[in-house]
Symmetry: D2
Subunit: 432 residues, 4 copies
């Protein structure tokens, strides 16, 4: 048995029955997540938001365990059959769902052109990773099973897939609570005790689905959707975080363009040379070498680089001299402003792609994907559509869709959280 | 006006009157603290303890501001004369008290042979730092005033010195609350609202002193002392944190010994070559280049170093393969165990100084110094003795010392939190 | 100076400057509020909701004081002129706003036919009450000034009126937070620190208005409106609370009908005889004798009364044998069910008005009045319409109405929280 | 299944397996506890402390259920044999442990000369109470089993007895947490998650005992003992609460002395006539009629009584005109002050027993009994001595006593929380 203390959940403990989870926590791939901040550069706007993907992953496994161990579910046949019998797959998937994340996820995904889920699956399948070995030692086929849950193709229990990744899942539950607490932005919190209490395993189209009790769960579902909405609005799409992410991305692109290699940091070089591809087994060790520390160190070095653009971008991030943002009202505004900014860049002899940047942060709070406007399903042809729905189960087990039951969710659903901004160096003065 | 959200204090805001503080927050020296974790490697034992010295520094300035702005003190002449009239010095000192910290403070201090306070004072005095320039722009002589508060020699108001650094000061108040919250170790928390409410500015030996109201403050003072006691016992001296710190220190010592220079990381090289000296003005920029990221990057690189010892130590930290610890019962135990461990090191042909390590973590909860058993006063000849006392002021303003009023504090005072451990590689098996 | 501890606000303290408030707290009229539960019988559904109107009143005065003492408002001329100069009126009105409440407010208002605000104003004006005497001793005309704030006719500062009673006022702020905490129903909580931080005094139609900062306050305004919506839905209109309130009301009506006088409880007798009228100065002492205790004692006595209806109703409340509720779907449902229930009452020879009860709980979350669907303004011809709006002030001080800025509030606004139920004895079995 | 929300524990839920508990909650004897405040008149000093014995009883049953359902104990044979097999006795005893409490417990116990535990046992044994009937319906002999747990003579499992009542039991755990939260006095809180996590069932002298894990539990045990210490010091023995309790007691004694009967309140009359005796089966219904409401109503009536002493005492409580207190330093102080006060009473022609009162509040924080300095064991000859010890179990299951392991507890143990005060009417002026 091992227990952890946690600011969000207080006590996180796993017993001997869950030795697998304790062994997975000790692998170097999971330990690496300690060196990657969950919210990238959001601490620029919310100084307390410095938590890592490691502690979030622990939290997701913990919520899953609480759900599995709730004594009030002991007599629920659907729960036993659809969830409890898959205890170890459920817990391992919860713990490992983010293991393929790189540092500053959005920027890195732009450079590599690959989503972090691909890396998670690769790490699970590779016979050379410790997580693969621990899983296979526990039970042959386990690594593939967890990979299937991650890419949403796990057939033995669709409910496990939904518990790990759907509109109301263990991942979001932990990150909303944790991000809300750590940012100090009160909006994001909700009553996790009640949420877990009213979660139900029901059946939709003959397939087990995760949902909430209709009578008891509608308000908490609304609260949850609203929490997400506010977290996008105030945290995930915060102007300063976006400004910082944009700078990281442009800095890496510039380093790639001019070939600013750092031979002693092979993971950075592989990134810049485009050789980090999840299907390439030899790339895995390089990818695992990427963490926040090496990116920051690259900035330290690049701030003295001969290329004035690269050196400028690195210094701006290090000393928090962010670009100024203008929120774009409409297409005409975009066109006018852009042409004025391009002119200014030209006048200053600065390469526009690095100094005049359009950024569109987009997500509906109800059909969102964390920090990425792209539909998560789109990346996996095997995923099933129902996951984008939140189900409410009535007394007889009949499912209804949340947005049809709730005028509040219906109102939010049709309003994507979306903001388009144009960024440029603040020393250019006010340009609107 | 600018406001921050914070997990500990919720809302932190400074008005235009405190523009100086907002300007100081924006300096690169203060921003650098974002890249240094407050508790070094304590997150190995307490995964949530990932907060930086930056957010702690903000918190200290915030508590100071709350104390300054408490409307119930408006009619307290001692408060006006001794504290309120020094508003900006008080706030700036609170914000900047940790600005000279390096990464993994204890290990770095061992390598450089200098305490972080020296660096804080140097950074304040150097005309080349942004904090110096911002302070001097606000008012000539301000940088020196803040430096005087930090090294406890500020004569115009002794109360300000005590508010920044004494047994019950704003620094400890924030770090105990913050560390307790982030570790999730409930012991460390106490009622900060009540503490601030019962703080008093009184007079001892003709000099203003910070203390607590005798009638209302005794229990909170006890609670505070107990919180510190528990935080030492369970967090600051936790076996895993100590094991990790010991590894960092030994790794740096080995790198220094064998001259494992990293030319592209000049701050590391300066550290290894012993040229980081706070009295050397040219060393300051190098020192400011040190942060958690470069140390972690050095580990990434050194894990593949030719020297098997350096490479082994780096790998152990990166993948959390910590040394095993044995708590030493007495001198005889120490001698016997040490000789057996040296023998084993010899047998395995390993250099004992890196593989057999005695570590003594020591502090009394009442006469402690954060993470350093050395008496803080010893480092500054100007500091006055009374600061090690906690005063309780009665109705007539007469001061009594806490340990004479409280049998609980008296009991704790005579028990140093102290533990001596011997560390060695866990693969050597059980040795007791 | 006097300080109180409070589960919601932690520390509540008033300094010597606010001696008036401390004196008012000590009056017997304010002390009486300790014996009246804020939420009547809601503790039947939410066992923890046992707090009194006294502690709520303290809380309202505390929030008002915090707003008045916020150092960040010191430079806001509108705030100084419109609010700060009326410190004592503002604090006294906040403390005394509920002083005229009787026990089980809704039921008592039905019996007396008078709203509690009338009693508050009478108590303030009567030269025989302690609150009147304390206020007048402080400053001649003060009692009338506070009464004017309560009935919304105070002309010297409209802002004070709005701070005490409007859509986002100190009263609601405390009761939402307190009721949410005490019920344990997480929905109702919101970030009070942020709310106070973004409150603004602006101008609308040449008159000072209380509102929120447009840029910073929209989300908290939405959160606040949603909190109210959920508190109505889950707490204030909870079926069990309504069932219990309906029983209290019917019991009192029956006692009145049959003249079940209790000579030793003159306040009850005055209530039953219809002689409790707020404009009658001799009725005031009788009214002040009404509290939860005498009502419960009347039940103890009436449970053995000869009248089987009165005795039955008293027993049902005492031993929590509540009526069963059916939620009415539409008019036809109401008609059908009602006729079946009347038939059953007839069959059992029970007087239908006491055994077949239609209850309509109604309020829009945005145009609500706490526990009373009637428009608060309607009771006072002097009140001004703008109070039903929530204003958001932009940088230039221009006001916009919340529901025009927020699609969420717009969605909630048009949905009254309203539920019509039919209650009948549960031993009649299921009738739908 | 039924769930409750609670300010302390958030969600309290019992499943169908625990139908017995849900049925017991619905009995009129348990419902009556809603009308008895847990802390009597402590809300005079701490306005928020208005919670009832009902919600506390629910909380105790909830903590017991959590302990029983902890999945990490599934493999602990000692736990299965000593605790889990007695699930329903454990839960019912936890819920019912306070069912015999009267209003203003200390004062009523003084008048009746009986401890509330006697009434609890009588209510359990009487065939006429609902709790007896529900228990017997569940299983024959159950009522007696629960009575045995309450009076500490239950032989089948000593561990259950200790879980309900010992130095660290479920009763104290809930009341410390709840009283701390409701008073707002931060001192009393401790980390209940960790406490439950480190509780162990071990063996002492061949008998199962409840204790804590030695390695993990020592600090929380200290924290718990300190919490109790502070709650006595600041809450339970608060001067204002004691002053109010003393007045209630004296008022009832005066009413008894002069025979101020209230025929319509038969429970009060039985109390005054000394006919409330727990061994008298006919007294039970009368006793159950006693609650806070009838005592307050008696005050309302007695405040107009012809006897000036009775009327004066009633008015003092109702309008919070408490006696002044002088803390007694030593015997000489007591003698001098007492003689001066008696003289003053004589001069004013007031009966001294009602106007000059010596009150000794006494308890050691470690060998205490809630609000009663008398050793709880003394009231039951069957109780075993070890219950006054807190055991810490090491790896091998060996027990050590807390005060021998902890210098802090040792220090507190030898300091009884004890204060002797003399009370007299405040209008007599300062007498010291």
């Amino acid at each position: 048995m091992k227990s952890f203390r946690d600011p969000v959940h207080n006590l996180i403990a796993f017993g001997e029955e869950d030795r697998l989870i304790l062994d997975l926590i000790n692998t170097s791939e999971v330990q690496r997540l300690r060196r990657i901040r969950q919210l990238g550069l959001s601490n620029i706007a919310y100084p307390g938001a410095e938590h890592s993907r490691f502690v979030h992953s622990l939290g997701v496994a913990h919520i899953m365990r609480r759900f599995l161990d709730d004594p009030l579910r002991e007599s629920d046949a659907m729960f036993i059959k659809g969830v409890k019998d898959f205890r170890h797959v459920a817990l391992a998937s919860a713990l490992l769902h983010d293991v393929g994340h790189g540092p500053f996820s959005h920027a890195i995904e732009t450079i590599t052109g690959e989503r972090h889920e691909n890396w998670t699956v690769s790490l699970l399948r590779s016979p050379h990773t410790e997580i693969h070995q621990v899983l296979e030692q526990h039970e042959h086929g386990m690594a593939q099973a967890v990979a299937d849950v991650i890419d949403r193709s796990f057939q033995p229990s669709r409910a496990i897939v939904k518990l790990v990744s759907s509109q109301i899942d263990m991942d979001r539950t932990d990150y909303l609570l944790r991000d809300a607490m750590m940012t100090g932005a009160g909006y994001g919190s909700f009553d996790v005790e009640w949420l877990l209490h009213v979660m139900r395993i029901g059946e939709v189209d003959g397939e087990p689905e995760v949902g909430l009790d209709l009578a008891k769960g509608k308000s908490i579902a609304e609260d949850y959707v609203m929490s997400r909405y506010y977290m996008y609005l105030h945290v995930y799409f915060h102007q300063m975080s976006r400004a910082a992410e944009v700078l990281i991305e442009k800095m890496l692109l510039r380093a790639k363009e001019i070939g600013a290699f750092l031979p002693f940091l092979p993971s950075i070089d592989a990134l810049l040379q485009g050789s980090l591809r999840s299907e390439d087994p030899t790339a895995i060790q390089r990818y695992l070498g990427l963490d926040d520390a090496v990116i920051w160190t690259a900035m330290h070095i690049w701030q003295g680089h001969d290329d004035p653009v690269l050196s400028d971008l690195a210094q701006r991030i290090l000393h928090r001299r962010l670009y100024k943002a203008v929120v774009i009202r409409d297409d005409e505004h975009a066109l006018t402003l852009r042409s004025r900014l391009l002119e200014e860049a030209n006048r200053r002899k600065l390469p526009a792609p690095y100094y005049v940047i359009t950024d569109r942060a987009d997500s509906s709070a109800y059909k969102d994907d964390y920090l990425s406007p792209v539909d998560r399903d789109a990346s996996s042809s095997k995923s099933s559509k129902p996951s984008q729905n939140v189900f409410l189960f009535d007394d007889k087990g009949l499912a209804r869709e949340l947005s049809q039951e709730s005028f509040i969710v219906e109102a939010v659903r049709n309003r994507a959280v979306s903001v388009t901004r144009m960024f440029y160096p603040s020393e250019w003065g006010v340009m609107v």
